[in-house]
Symmetry: D2
Subunit: 345 residues, 4 copies
C-alpha cells in the first residue's frame, strides 16, 4: 500500500485528487492538508464525500511532522507556496508530485520573470521532471520530484508536439486559442468567479501574458529543437470543467490531413489516455476522465493545420495526471485508479 | 461472467447502463440494441466511448435470436414497447430488468388508465418485483423479472417511506414537489428539449397527471397499509442530471426533527446507497453516483415535516439501480460495479 | 424631470434599477452610491453600461449632502442598513423607495425576531406602504415611503392573494415551494455563490426559517382576514434570473379550475403586469420584464389547487417594481419606463 | 407608420425581429409568416408575447397576396428559400431585408459553390446591398434590397476591417477563432441542439468549410483592396446568445497597441453601436443589445495583434441589424427602436 497525502486538498484540483486516491486500490490517504479548513472534516467541505472519506484536514505545520509516515506527497498550492515543503519532503525520502507551477520551468530566471516571485531552490529544478507522461515516461519512472503540468499546457502540448517534433509547421506560425471551464479559476472568492458573472457569457483573458505561455513554449521548443514563441489566448466558458485547445500552424509543405493523422497515431500509439479521433473533439467526451482527445483538420485553401485537443482540466490537466505520474513512479500500471470513462451527459 | 445485453442502449438511460456494465468486473456486454441506430457502432453515437466499447448496435429482431446467449436482459424502452421481448426473454430463461414502466404498477387496470395502453401480459405482473432494493431486497434476490422504478418515484418513495411506515403523518397531507434535470426528458427530438428552450428557465409540467404519481401512491400505500392519494408536481431545471424531491407532510403528533432523523437512520441502516445527511441535500453531491441523500426538517410553527431527497436520475433513478438489482439477482455484492462517488463540481 | 438617486447601486438589484432609470423618459439619475466602489465609474463595475452611463459612484456620506437635489431616493441595501438615510431623506422631503427589508413588516417586534436587529425607527412603520402595486395601488399614490416587497414574497403573494381573499382554501394548508435563480443571492463573495458550486445542481435552503416567510404571512393574513401560518421553502436553481413559486392549497369546497381562473382574471383585471395564463408559467417568459405570469391547476383527486407564478426576481421582484411604485407616486403611467417584454431565449 | 412583415417569424432570429418591431414606435407589424405554425397564434409559439402580440401566423402563399399592404418585408429563411418572395416583393415596390444568405455573396458562382444551390436570380445581386451599416451606410439608405450579414461575419468583419483597410497586417496571416451561443443553430430539431448534448461542453465545428467564410473574405478583401483567404473556426458554447470572435493577424510593422486603438476609435467614430473598449469584451456586455464591443491587444513578443469583438448573434448578428438597416432605408434615426442596453446578468 502506498501511503499518500495531499496538501491543498480543499481546492478544486486537490479535492479531485482525493477522489482518485480514495478510489485507488493501492493507495491509502494518510492525511489531507488545508490552510482554510484545518481541523474540519474534509467531507464537511465537500459533502459528496460524506460517509466515505473520514479524514479531518490538518494544517501544514502538522503535516511536516507526519512526512515520515508517507511515501508520496501531492501538493496543490498556488505558485510560490510549495518551496519549503517540497524541500523537507524530499529530505525525508518522500516522493513529491507538485501540481503547482514552482518546478515546471527549467530556468529560475524565466520563472521569476513570469511569476514575479523569487525561486527559493533553483538547484532542485535539475531534479524535477516535467510530468507529462506521454513525453517523459522514462524520466518519470526514475525521479523523486514531479512538476505536474498546467491544465492549458497539457492540452496545448499534446495537441502540437508531433507537428513540431516532425518539423511540419512554420515555427513562428503557432496560435493556441484555448477555452476553459470555470473550475480552472479555482475556489478562491473573486467577483469574476461568481455564478452571475460567468454564466451565459464568454470572454478572453490574460492575452499575451498568461503564465502557461512560457511552459508551453519550453516544451514545444524541446520538441522542435529550437526556440519557439507563440500566441496563447485563454477564454472562460460557462461550464464547470473542460479545456478545448484550438491550435493553428502553417504547414511547411504539402501534406494531407490523412498523413498527419497517421503521424499522430504513430506518435501516440503507446499512450492509453490519448485518443486520436476522426470527429472534432468535444470536452464532454473526456469530462470526468483522464483522456485527451485530439482531432486534426487541414485547410487546403490556407495551408494551415488545425489541431484540436480536449481534456478535463481537473483530471488530465491536474489530478488524474498526478496519479498517472504516481503510478509510474511506484511501478504500477499507468492507468491504475484513473481508468474512468466520461459519462456522456 | 454474467452475459448481459441492453435494449434501448442509445437512449440516455440505456447508454448510462452501458457505462456501468462496461466497468462491471463480472459482466460482459453481449450485445446492445438500438432501433434508431441499428448497424452503427455504439461509440459513433456516443463518442465518449470511442476506443473502449466496440459493440455495434443491432436491431430488436436480431436481438431475439441472441437471447440464448445471455443471462440478463436490460430493457430501456418507452412504455408499451417491452411486452413481447420480456415474454420471449423469460421464456428462454433470461432474467429481465425492465427500466420502463410496463411492469411497475401491480394492477393492469391502473396501468391502462394512466398510460392509455392495453397491458398485453397482465399475468406477468405477479412475477414482477418492484426493483427498489431498499424496500424489496429479499424479493429481488429471488425473482426473474424486475420492474425498475422510475426516477421521480425512486426519489419520492425513499424520502417518504419511513414516515408512512411509522404512521407519522396525515395520509392526505402529502405533497411532493420534485425538480429534475433535462436528461429526464430523454433524447427524443422535441422543441421543449432544445438547449435554447430549457436553459435559463424553470417550469412545472404534468401537474396532477404525471405518470409517476400512481407508482408513488402504490408503494407508499403499501408502506402505510392504506390507500393514499397525494400531489406530485414535477419541474424541469436547467441542468443535465439530478432529481431533488421536496416532500411535505403534516405530522400527526409532536415529534422532534431529531427523533425523525433517528427513525430514518434506523430504517436505512443496512442500505449502502442511502445517506441520511444533516445538511440539506444538493443534487451535485450524488451526481454520477448511485447514492440517495436524504435530509429532514421539521417546521414547528406549522407542524409539518419536510423531507428532501436527491438522486442522479440516470443512475439511482435508472441505470445504477438496474445494476444494483442485477447484483442481487446474481448473488453479487450489492455495490459491485456501481460504487462510484460523485465528483464535487 | 424627476431627479432620482440609487443607494446600493452596484448590487444586482441596484444596477438593475440604474438600467431602468437610465431608460426612463422622465427620470434623471442625479447620483449613484456604492460603499464598495466609491469614486469609481459605475460603468467600470458593470461594463455593459460603458459609454452610456457616466456617473461615478459616491459614498453615502457624500450622498447625504445631496439629498436636497433629488425628488426620489431608491435604497438597495442589506437589512438594518437603511434606517438613518431613510429618516434623513424623508426629513428633506425626498420620497423614499426602500428595496430592503427594514420597513416591510408592520410590527417592529416581528422584524426584530426574524432579522435579529433592533428597529431604529418603529414610528416610521406607520408611514410605510407595502409597495405591491396590485394590492396597494391607492395607498402607494399618496405615500412618501415605500417598502418595496421581497422577490419571493412578490411571487408568492400575487399567486395566492385571490384564493385567500375569496376564502377558497383551508388556512392551514398553504405550502409555497419556490425556486430562484442565483442572482437572488446577490453579488457578495460567498463560496456558495461561486459558479462551480451552483452550476449543475439544485438545493433547498433556509427551510422553516427564511425571512420572507413573515412578510408573506403578513400580507396573506390581511387578504384572508385572519392570521395565517404557512410553509415557505426556497430553492436555488442554476440560472441567473427568475423565480417560480409553486403554491399549494386545499380547497374548502368543490370549485372548478375554470371558475378559479375566472376569479383570478377578475381580480387582476386592471393590472397591466399580471398575466393569467392557460399554460404553465416558465420563468423565461417573464425574464427581463416586470411581468408576473400566473397559471392555475386543480387536482380533483386530492382537492388541491396549485397556483404557479413566475417573475424576474431582479425586476418585478425588485427594481421594476420599485419603478412601478415611483411612477404611481409621481402621477405617471404605471408602466412608464418598465414596459419591456421578455426575450424568448 | 411603416407597415412591415416578417417571414420565418417563428425561428429564433425571426421572433427576435418581431420583438423589436413590436417595440418600434414607427412600425406596425402587418403580418407574420411561419411555415411550421401557420394559423396558430404567434404568442402560442412564444409565450413571452402572450397578451402583447395578437398576430396569427399565416403561410407564405397568403403572404404573397398581402405584399401590397406593406412597405418592408423581413425574411428570415434558410438559404435557398427566399428567391421567389424577394422577387415578388420587389416587383410590388416593397423594400426587402433578407436575413438569409441568398444575396450576401456578390458572385453567384461563389454562392453556388459554398451553398450547393443554384442562384435563381443572379441579376438581383447587383441591386443587393450588404447590410453592414458601419461600412455601407450610404448605399443602404438608397437601396431596396438588403442582404443582412450573417452573425459570425458581422463580428468578424467589424473586428478586422480597420486593420485591413489601413494595411496593418499580413494578408495571409488572418485567423478568426469564433465562439457562438447555441441559438445560432436555430430552432430546428437536431440531436446536436438538445440541452443534454450542448450543456457543459464546448466543441469546434465546420472547420475549413463554414459558409460564413466566403462572406468574411469578400468583405475583408474589399477592405484590403486585394483578395484575402483566411481561417475561420466556429465553436459552440453552452449559452443561449452571443458571439465572441478572437481575431489574429501578424503586424507588418511596429505599431503600438495604443496607436491601433486610436485608429479604431477614429474609424468607428460615427458609429453609435460600436464600442471600442479598453477591457476585453465579454458577450454578456452586449447580450440583448445591438452593440458590438471591440477590444485590442498587441503581443510584442510575436508581433501579432489580437482583436476581439463581441455581439449578440440574434441582434447585431441578425434582427437588430435588420432594424438598423430599415431605419436607414426609411430615413429614421439609426438607433430608433433598437436602443436597448444589455442587462448585466
Amino acid at each position: 500500500m502506498i501511503k499518500g497525502a495531499v496538501i491543498g486538498a480543499t481546492g478544486y484540483a486537490g479535492q479531485q485528487l482525493v477522489w482518485f486516491l480514495h478510489n485507488h486500490e493501492y493507495v491509502k490517504i494518510e492525511f489531507v492538508v488545508s490552510h482554510s479548513y484545518a481541523d474540519e472534516a474534509f467531507s464537511k467541505i465537500y459533502n459528496n464525500y460524506t460517509g466515505f472519506i473520514q479524514n479531518k484536514c490538518i494544517n501544514i505545520q502538522q503535516a511536516e511532522y507526519k512526512l515520515e509516515e508517507i511515501d508520496v506527497l501531492f501538493i496543490a498550492l498556488p505558485h510560490g507556496k510549495s518551496f519549503d515543503i517540497v524541500k523537507k519532503a524530499l529530505a525525508k525520502g518522500v516522493k513529491v508530485i507538485d501540481l503547482g507551477a514552482d518546478f515546471r520551468l527549467n530556468e529560475a530566471a524565466c520563472y521569476e520573470k513570469w511569476y514575479g516571485v523569487e525561486h527559493k531552490f533553483p538547484e532542485l529544478l535539475n531534479d524535477a521532471v516535467y510530468g507529462l507522461v506521454e513525453i517523459y515516461r522514462d524520466e518519470i519512472k526514475k525521479t523523486r520530484l514531479i512538476a505536474n503540468p498546467g491544465c492549458y499546457t497539457t492540452a496545448s502540448i499534446l495537441a502540437l508536439y508531433p507537428l513540431l517534433n516532425k518539423g511540419l509547421i512554420e515555427m513562428d506560425s503557432i496560435i493556441i486559442d484555448a477555452k476553459s471551464g470555470v473550475s480552472g479559476a479555482g475556489r478562491g472568492l473573486k467577483v469574476t468567479s461568481l455564478y452571475g458573472e460567468c454564466n451565459e457569457s464568454i470572454k478572453a483573458y490574460g492575452i499575451a501574458g498568461h503564465r502557461h505561455t512560457p511552459e508551453i513554449e519550453q516544451e514545444l521548443s524541446k520538441a522542435a529543437g529550437e526556440k519557439i514563441l507563440l500566441n496563447f489566448t485563454p477564454h472562460l466558458v460557462p461550464m464547470n470543467r473542460g479545456i478545448l485547445a484550438t491550435c493553428y500552424g502553417k504547414l511547411k509543405n504539402n501534406i494531407s490531413q490523412e498523413e498527419i493523422y497517421k503521424i499522430y497515431k504513430e506518435f501516440y500509439k503507446e499512450d492509453y489516455f490519448i485518443r486520436i479521433v476522426e470527429t472534432l473533439p468535444e470536452t464532454r467526451n473526456v469530462r470526468g476522465s483522464n483522456l485527451c482527445d485530439i482531432g486534426i483538420r487541414v485547410d487546403e485553401r490556407t495551408k494551415r493545420v488545425i489541431v484540436i485537443s480536449a481534456i478535463d482540466n481537473l483530471i488530465k490537466g491536474a489530478a488524474g495526471q498526478a496519479v498517472q505520474n504516481m503510478n509510474l513512479m511506484f511501478g504500477l500500471e499507468e492507468s491504475e485508479g484513473i481508468n474512468v470513462l466520461s459519462m456522456a451527459i
